[in-house]
Amino acid sequence: MTTRVRLALVAAGIVAGGALIAYYIASFLVVTPRSVAASGTGKQAQLTLQTVAAFGHPPHVDWVTYLAREPNGKWVHSTVLHVPAYATVKVTVYQFDTATGLRNPFWGQPRGTVGGTINVNGKATNVLNPDDASHTFAIPDLGVSVPLKGIADNAKNQCGVAPCALSMAHTTTTFVFKSGKPGKYRWQCFVPCAFQFPLGFGGPMQSLGWMDGYLMVG
């Protein structure tokens, strides 16, 4: 092999490596899930979400995830949520997953909601047993943190593929919070619910569109 060929191969390798790095960075920076707008009018908005133990579709069939419902009733695999500024936002979460339990029991107390309470299966409460939590919906910069009760491990008719129908086993959590000033606020789950990942916090717990997202206010 001549020197010229060797140099060409090395140059090609460097270019290919650089392209892969650029693709990885661009994919991380540019690709975000589509935004789902809240329904409602004026300063009254409603968000409807669901959590599923396993998405059931490529690219990650067994990843736990959130889904959001568009105003037209269609479920969308997205965690970028859009609400008006200075609005009263009513959130309904249909929770189809079993309980994992909170690593820090502290997050078992709802915070940042109107009245400091949440409504779980029609019953108002100001605390959830941390062992019963399946996920949380938390917007730290707005002081909002809500634990979501899991279904029983032996519940019948459990959902395995998103989106889940309300005829399947689930819990329903509703709460109200004030959206405040315009901005882009991250939200996340605090339950270590990522199956087969280190400490339960890899994969979907580190990925927009799954167990993390943005609340776009304004």
């Binding site: 029991p105 502290f106 107390q109 605390v127 087969q196 400490l199």
Partner: protein, 290 residues
């Protein structure tokens, strides 16, 4: 230096390069040093909110005051060389050979060595004797405890992906999302983590301590004045690492007592579910149900 012109030896004026360089440098140093100490110094980070932060600010002032003359010397020699000794001809010729000067080299080694040794001695004194760890985490058994450490107000700092929470064992062990400390009171931060490694960085207080699961990392601080300080995570810890930021508060002792009472009430609903206070916690649960 001489130059032969025809058969006649003509003395050439010798420019006092050395004195010009040193003179210029001394003038610049005389101007810059007071500016560094009196004008820039009070604004250097992290400020003087605590005794530990003040010691760090002093270190930054001293280091800057020592660094700038060295930097100026390099710059003056560079600029002087560029202006005076640049080649004005198109022809490229070799310069005169460079010869070592033992005296200059020895002087350089002695001066720079003395600066480094003096800074090491002063830094060690500050770290060990006067600042008691300089606000850094000292591990579970601090080698350098300040006076009255056994009566310090203990506050547990818990890092988790991706938030800080704080427990107050002296006040019933309540936990809070907010951090407040009293002024003029020795505080012992007990820093730990529930998952990956974080780093608790209370910037304005001059406190920085790694948060490691299974480790009780102790850092001392004594706040001198009331106000807000920034809290950051200084260890890349995942997706929302950059969002592990909030503001802490230094309150008067009476203000702190009132804050603690209110915070305890605010977080009362979860109290019965909290783990008993421990220096650190196992990162559980490790399983995922379902």
């Amino acid at each position: 230096m001489t130059e032969i012109a025809g058969n006649e030896i003509v003395p050439q004026r010798v420019p006092h390069h050395w004195w010009k360089i040193v003179g210029t440098w001394l003038v610049l140093v005389a101007i810059s040093e007071p500016l560094i100490v009196l004008v820039l110094g009070p604004h250097l980070p992290p400020g003087r909110m605590s005794a530990e932060a003040g010691a760090q600010t002093d270190a930054n002032v001293v280091l800057t005051a020592l660094l700038v003359p060295i930097m100026l010397l390099v710059w003056v020699v560079f600029v002087y060389s560029f202006v005076v000794w640049r080649s004005r001809d198109a022809a490229v010729v070799d310069g005169p050979p460079i010869k070592g000067h033992a005296g200059t080299q020895l002087l350089w080694i002695v001066i720079t060595g003395a600066i480094v040794i003096a800074l090491a001695a002063w830094g060690s004194y500050t770290l060990v004797a006067s600042s008691h760890g300089a606000g850094g985490g000292q591990g579970p058994n601090p080698a350098d405890q300040p006076k009255g450490a056994s009566h310090a107000l203990a506050i547990q700092v818990i890092g988790q992906q991706w938030e800080w929470t704080f427990r107050y064992p002296s006040y019933g062990g309540f936990e809070s999302r907010d951090l407040a400390i009293p002024d003029h009171t020795l505080v012992a931060f007990h820093v730990t983590s529930l998952d990956v490694t974080h780093s608790f960085w209370a910037y304005g207080l001059g406190v920085k301590a790694d948060a490691v699961a299974g480790v009780d990392n102790v850092a001392y601080v004594n706040a001198r004045k009331t106000g807000f300080f920034q809290i950051r995570c200084a260890e890349l810890c995942g997706l929302w690492h950059g969002h592990m930021a909030k503001k802490g508060r230094v309150l008067s002792f009476a203000g702190f007592q009132a804050w603690a009472k209110a915070a305890k009430t605010k977080n009362a609903a979860i109290q019965k579910y909290l783990s008993p206070y421990n220096p650190w916690y196992f990162p559980a649960p490790l399983r995922r149900a379902g």
